[in-house]
Symmetry: D2
Subunit: 342 residues, 4 copies
Amino acid sequence: METIKAAIIGVTGYSGIELYRLLRQHPHIEVQSVHASQSVGQNLSDLFPHIGNGQEIIIEAVDSEQIMKTVDLVFLATPSGYSKDMAGLFLEQDFPVVDLSGDYRLPAEAYEKWYDKPAAPASEQERFTYGLSEWTNLFGKKFISNPGCYATATLLSLLPLVDIIDEKSIIVDAKSGLTGAGKSLTASSHFVQAYGNYSTYKLNRHQHIPEIMQVLQAHNPDIPHLQFSTSLLPINRGIVATSYLHLKDGMTEEDVDLAFKEAYKESAFVQLHGHQFPDLHQVVGSNRVAIGWEYNPRTEVLTVMTVLDNLIKGAAGQAIQNVNLMYGFPETAGLDNLASYI
Amino acid sequence: METIKAAIIGVTGYSGIELYRLLRQHPHIEVQSVHASQSVGQNLSDLFPHIGNGQEIIIEAVDSEQIMKTVDLVFLATPSGYSKDMAGLFLEQDFPVVDLSGDYRLPAEAYEKWYDKPAAPASEQERFTYGLSEWTNLFGKKFISNPGCYATATLLSLLPLVDIIDEKSIIVDAKSGLTGAGKSLTASSHFVQAYGNYSTYKLNRHQHIPEIMQVLQAHNPDIPHLQFSTSLLPINRGIVATSYLHLKDGMTEEDVDLAFKEAYKESAFVQLHGHQFPDLHQVVGSNRVAIGWEYNPRTEVLTVMTVLDNLIKGAAGQAIQNVNLMYGFPETAGLDNLASYI
Amino acid sequence: METIKAAIIGVTGYSGIELYRLLRQHPHIEVQSVHASQSVGQNLSDLFPHIGNGQEIIIEAVDSEQIMKTVDLVFLATPSGYSKDMAGLFLEQDFPVVDLSGDYRLPAEAYEKWYDKPAAPASEQERFTYGLSEWTNLFGKKFISNPGCYATATLLSLLPLVDIIDEKSIIVDAKSGLTGAGKSLTASSHFVQAYGNYSTYKLNRHQHIPEIMQVLQAHNPDIPHLQFSTSLLPINRGIVATSYLHLKDGMTEEDVDLAFKEAYKESAFVQLHGHQFPDLHQVVGSNRVAIGWEYNPRTEVLTVMTVLDNLIKGAAGQAIQNVNLMYGFPETAGLDNLASYI
Amino acid sequence: METIKAAIIGVTGYSGIELYRLLRQHPHIEVQSVHASQSVGQNLSDLFPHIGNGQEIIIEAVDSEQIMKTVDLVFLATPSGYSKDMAGLFLEQDFPVVDLSGDYRLPAEAYEKWYDKPAAPASEQERFTYGLSEWTNLFGKKFISNPGCYATATLLSLLPLVDIIDEKSIIVDAKSGLTGAGKSLTASSHFVQAYGNYSTYKLNRHQHIPEIMQVLQAHNPDIPHLQFSTSLLPINRGIVATSYLHLKDGMTEEDVDLAFKEAYKESAFVQLHGHQFPDLHQVVGSNRVAIGWEYNPRTEVLTVMTVLDNLIKGAAGQAIQNVNLMYGFPETAGLDNLASYI
């Protein structure tokens, strides 16, 4: 089978270094070069000593022309607001891009409202396919906008159910480990602040809300604005999305079971737990998603709990899964690590 | 002002030792003796080296007659299922009891269903007053059934709102630190299992559900069965209760603000945060409760977040607050510690 | 008994806010005003919601003249390098100062070498008494230089033993929780970096080394340069100092036991655990110090393990203890909180 | 290249399930069957949901005859005291065994003293080779006794130095995450007890002491009894061994550097950090070992800090590395995962 060469731009961020780490095991993707705006000329192994053993992996500046000459695809692991400045030249030359930021997930108006930054040109944004691997055919695609971590967990919970739930009933209480807050040094990611704590932030204002809504609405236009909470768990890795839903009249627990089983019957990474709720140990360290659900007949509320590793299935792992799908590699290539469990 | 003497039965459990610790600072309550079914004859300072400095505090067997001769009130910090075996002799002699277990919180039928244990006699159960300090007049009472930790957080969130919310809309997503799971060695409280994890347990089956329901229903009989999730946070102390609610037609955000301010305007321990959500650092180590709320006009959902220290306001601290109210001591006596914050 | 009024300068740092919190319970010290260089004019309760319940505690700029008119003593909870800029005016007027920074702990030459900052004038430095409460008579003193957290733990371990150990044998392996690293946002205090980790820093370069050495050498001039490691534990509060020592010829385990018992026989805060090693739960939240030791006859090594809460006995608590001693208040006034244990 | 088949006995313990997890990626070792004394007949995927996706991996009872018929090698991931009851039948038939317990690491007398259990017969014990991969030629061996986690970290620190250090000077301060304490539910591994804590246990009594001593003494018979502390870090995975040493007269820092470089110049897994101390993030999740050292000329103490993942290089990973060496597979086969870093 074919092997492709890739460059990672933004390798020093959490998603970037995770991409590098995971791709070291990939049988069909070879990382040819790594790039960043800072630390250029330094050895990646010096900055990230878990990577190397004396090996030289020099961080290069971003030279798009040069990159397009030497690799087949570029990963943009750059923060939202930066990717769109990087992507232009690649798009112009129709060169394959997988973007892990939020820059190509939303139409300009929504982007500017929720991100409070200038949006990428609509002409660029429209060329991207939203890469929720389990729900889109990505074979042969060239430009992938990789989903957000909260969005991945929430969409995998709700998409199987869009037609059997009361659309107005959706409430999501989502939680994330601190790696989800990124590498920048902020008061809320200071160890002392987050340790032993649980804090809710950006209530109803998280930028993954419109991303989730637009995908849900594409499947069921009756779905209204989403009620969505985001909180920080005092751990490093993990997303938990707990959703509360009412069923449409006439729908039953069996319809729910069936919907989940049907949706993920061929999925390599989604594990259905039915009435036993999953926990983070089952997924952290892997590209797995675990989903549990339970219907309470007395309250008529369906609870769905979905867990995943925000840096893998919520970022770098899903990006690799998407490249596998784009190129027709086995979907699990390079992603067969099990969760470390403990 | 008067000083009373107290005995603690069950001093070696988490609530019992916390009671002992807090009462050491109380100006009007003196711990005369400590009791347990195990470790009798041992020095409490040896088992709990944070307590003493060579001091002898011998753990005594439970001899109700002797206790009633020497103290004015007994705290039962015994587990659910044990308190009812202890309380009988005290009740017979009309001797003041504050029970921290679930044994006197529910009518027999509900107790047996949710606790799966034989209930205390109805004649005993009826003599107890449910001691949610902020919502009951406890002056002159003799028998207090101290609320559960989840119940305290949830009721303090919802009681101000019972008349202005759509009764059918209540969904509570509650989380607790591991001390809430008690001292017994179980697979779920093993360090390795809980560390770096988040797990949901007893979904729709937690024994605090009927306790919460009966108090809510006493204020508004239209409130139906409660949707209630409970999860373990990988920390030691803290309860977070996040509630999702719809308002009754015609009710607005201002009504919510007003309801909270009215309910707690004279409360020494409830801090209202309005639209800034509280976190656990604000309450852990103190008897404080902090409540934040926000109404989302687009989804018409009101989110209420309440935090407290499960061992203090959720157990031992509230028990002391209740004794203060029973005897007319200042409500904050012995409870003026601030949260340790970091 | 007399009550004094105090001002806290640097109230927004970890030591400053801890001082404020602890002094709220002090029967003889009243905090009259709080000061900082930033956040002037803001309400302390807004910045630290665990403090207040709507109360206004306005942060004031530092106006030394005004402070000296209204209070009896000033706490400098300012960082090293800042205290010396604050202290001058107070010293000029012979106004009582307790400084929690390192600025008055070392002679100028040592200070400039280890802190890499300009030192306070020698004429000022000499007026300060080093406030290791258990080892100095502080009654009537006016200027206290409060010890560092590592220094407190290490000196309380070693001072009783200076005459019975082989002076050349001392090796200290010390560990600290993250609050010891302060409030500034650094890569090493980022949650993601410290979580699940253990890292050794400033090996042989920590600024508490000369502070410890000079006190030890004042008791035994034969003590040479100190071997001292410092590491970060992934927790918020706590210092652990593990010391490895050889005994002088002819000295035995009994001499060690005797030395500890003699040294701390009248100490209110030092708990001797003998051959049962203490852990952090016994001290965190209190001004207590717990010391355990064990002699290994096969290796002829004495291990001493000392634990304390770095923000209390290692900073704010010891500062209060020192004021108690200066003014002849009971040594434990305001400091009778037990460790929270769990 | 050849592929061998293996059975895992004790698959439900932490080392056993970690072996299973890691072997899933091994190109030359296939797990043919898994065995335990409990949970026989259950699906491993049900007990450990991170493992499977509906797959049936039935836990079988231990039938040695049957195992020898179907596989080429057996891993004993059984606790100390149990392995020796399992190993006999395999040894009788000269069937390859890798034992992860302590049962074949020590001569009978030492074993019975330090483990307080009956020892395996000397005739069996002598057939085992101690499998410290970097220091033994294991090619063609049949019976491997896999080293303990503390022993691995300490020996990799000290073996390069045995000839250049003052033999009497060795002091080791070692720390372990909670997975090192195993799966049994004990008071010290209860979440509430270990959280936010640091506790030293089995001081001078840990069963890895004689294991370390005998290997050191085999390289330098002048090495006396070892001073060795063991403490629990409030994390799941990781060993830190901090060693304090004096150099022999005439030896210098350069000799230390040289000794480490020489010892590990061909090592695939040992990373030398020289004067930058490593942390746990560099190794957890991988079979890597990272070693840093620094000589303090003023105290004449050499500090060596070694970190590894106790379940991988300290147990299951090293067992796999050893099988690779026994069979002449590439040493890193199945072990090329990098540390997860964050």
